[in-house]
């Protein structure tokens, strides 16, 4: 049997559109991880699994509008992000209050882990305190590890705006974190 998993996104999309529905399973498998993280970090929290599933179904129906030649991953994540935001549009205050609801830090174990956990908690708190548009950009760039171009596409903004929001967000986080001595002590590690 042919190994569909070795095919590129463009070829898989073309095959799905030509009626080879099974090729879509490869696409779903390939992007489940990043779709779940995107959903969880950009508003869906604990509903990430539902949101990602819904997004994959909508992406399937929209494949005919996908422009051949453009990158598949950011296009898919745009749909995931839209779905995640829709899910929580009616509950925006909750999203502002708790960043990444439903996603837990590793439980504190030994002393050292507890300290590391505290640093992560501080970073997470500082990130959560940013204005929406700066936080979303930093989430895409650092938590989802998207590049500038992908981030621009997923958030529907210009690449130059990604740059400026990134630098404003980092600056703001830096001053928030500088208020905590914990980071100075552990800063070198």
């Amino acid at each position: 049997m042919e190994d569909l998993g070795s095919l590129g996104d463009a070829e898989l999309v073309a095959r799905v559109c030509a009626g080879e529905t099974a090729a879509y399973a490869v696409v779903v498998r390939r992007y489940t991880g990043i779709a779940l993280r995107t959903a969880a970090f950009l508003g869906a929290g604990a509903d990430a699994e539902d949101v990602a599933q819904e997004a994959f179904v909508k992406a399937y129906r929209a494949l005919g509008r996908f422009r051949p030649g453009s990158a598949f991953r950011p296009w898919l994540l745009t749909i995931v992000t839209h779905e995640a935001r829709n899910r929580h549009r009616s509950d925006r205050r909750r999203r502002d209050r708790e960043l990444l609801p439903g996603v837990d830090l590793p439980a504190a174990g030994p002393e050292e882990l507890a300290e590391v956990g505290e640093r992560r908690a501080l970073a997470r708190h500082a990130l959560a305190g940013l204005p929406d548009e700066q936080r979303d950009v930093l989430v895409c760039r650092y938590l989802l590890e998207l590049d500038e171009r992908e981030t621009a596409e997923v958030l529907g903004i210009a690449p130059g705006t990604v740059k400026s929001r990134t630098s404003r967000g980092l600056k703001r986080m830096r001053s928030a974190l500088s208020a905590h001595s914990a980071l100075e002590v552990g800063g070198g590690r």
Partner: protein, 254 residues
């Protein structure tokens, strides 16, 4: 010193470490997704332009290919199943807009430019901050009466109530943002150095979600409209009346 202290914190590193510590529960979505899509027809990869297109269609096709190579760099395929069924003859994407030719007029023939909005107006800089691109401003017109941004921050609109003008602008994307359904031929025009399309009659204007679903509740019949692309931004000017007047205004947009 404060500056030394802040320099000591590598925020990017803290963010990367945070990323590594955030665990999103794994899930296998393949079976659930495939169970839902397997019974559906293949996604509508639209056929290339209808073979039955007449001489006018052939002209448009040729011109469009040239335009697409210059402006979009990518040609969009077309499909049999469409929102209005087999009646659709031609389909393509121009900037952030999908243009669909239909053989029938739009459902409503009353045309009104939507120049008023219930949303409170914004300053130009506030609107620019929301949409994330530098807005284009027509130097040949007075300051707009209102500036608004769509709830999802994707479309900025300026309106001039006295002259009945409306200028929408948005970023072109790998998927279109609007679908325009026109039963009349459209005209390819030059707007300065940019490519444009002129819709010389009523057409249906429908907003598209990122997943391509049409937002029917906001669909409306739009009048004569000039559509053009400037860099990464797609602009649509409605209410100018004639092509000449629309071009005059469009050429002053900076």
């Amino acid at each position: 010193m404060a500056a030394d202290r802040t320099n000591a914190i590598d925020v990017e590193r803290e963010l990367r470490l945070l990323a590594g510590s955030l665990v999103v529960p794994a899930a296998d979505l393949v079976d659930a997704v495939m169970a839902r899509v397997v019974a559906e027809p293949p996604p509508a990869r639209r056929p290339r332009f209808a073979t039955a297109a007449g001489a006018a269609g052939a002209w448009i096709r040729t011109r469009w290919r040239a335009t697409a190579l210059v402006v979009l760099g990518a040609v969009v395929a077309v499909g049999a199943a469409t929102p209005v069924g087999a009646a659709v003859a031609r389909w393509f994407t121009f900037g952030g807009v999908e243009v669909v030719h239909t053989p029938v007029p739009p459902p409503s023939t009353s045309v009104a430019v939507a120049t008023s909005s219930a949303a409170p107006g914004l300053s130009l800089s506030a609107a620019a901050g929301r949409v994330g691109f530098t807005p284009h401003v027509p130097a040949g017109l007075p300051a707009p009466d209102t500036i608004t941004v769509s709830p999802d921050d994707r479309v900025m609109s300026m309106t001039w109530s006295e002259s009945g003008l409306r200028l929408d602008q948005f970023l072109g994307r790998p998927s279109p943002l609007f679908v325009k359904k026109s039963y009349q031929d459209i005209e390819f025009v030059e707007v300065g150095d940019d490519q444009g399309l002129w819709f010389d009659g009523p057409h249906e204007l429908v907003y598209l979600d990122p997943d391509g679903s049409e937002r029917r509740e906001t669909a409306r019949t739009a009048g004569r409209t000039l559509l053009w692309i400037d860099g990464s931004v797609t602009l649509r000017l409605e209410g100018a009346g004639s092509l000449d007047r629309a071009l005059d205004i469009a050429r002053t947009v900076r």
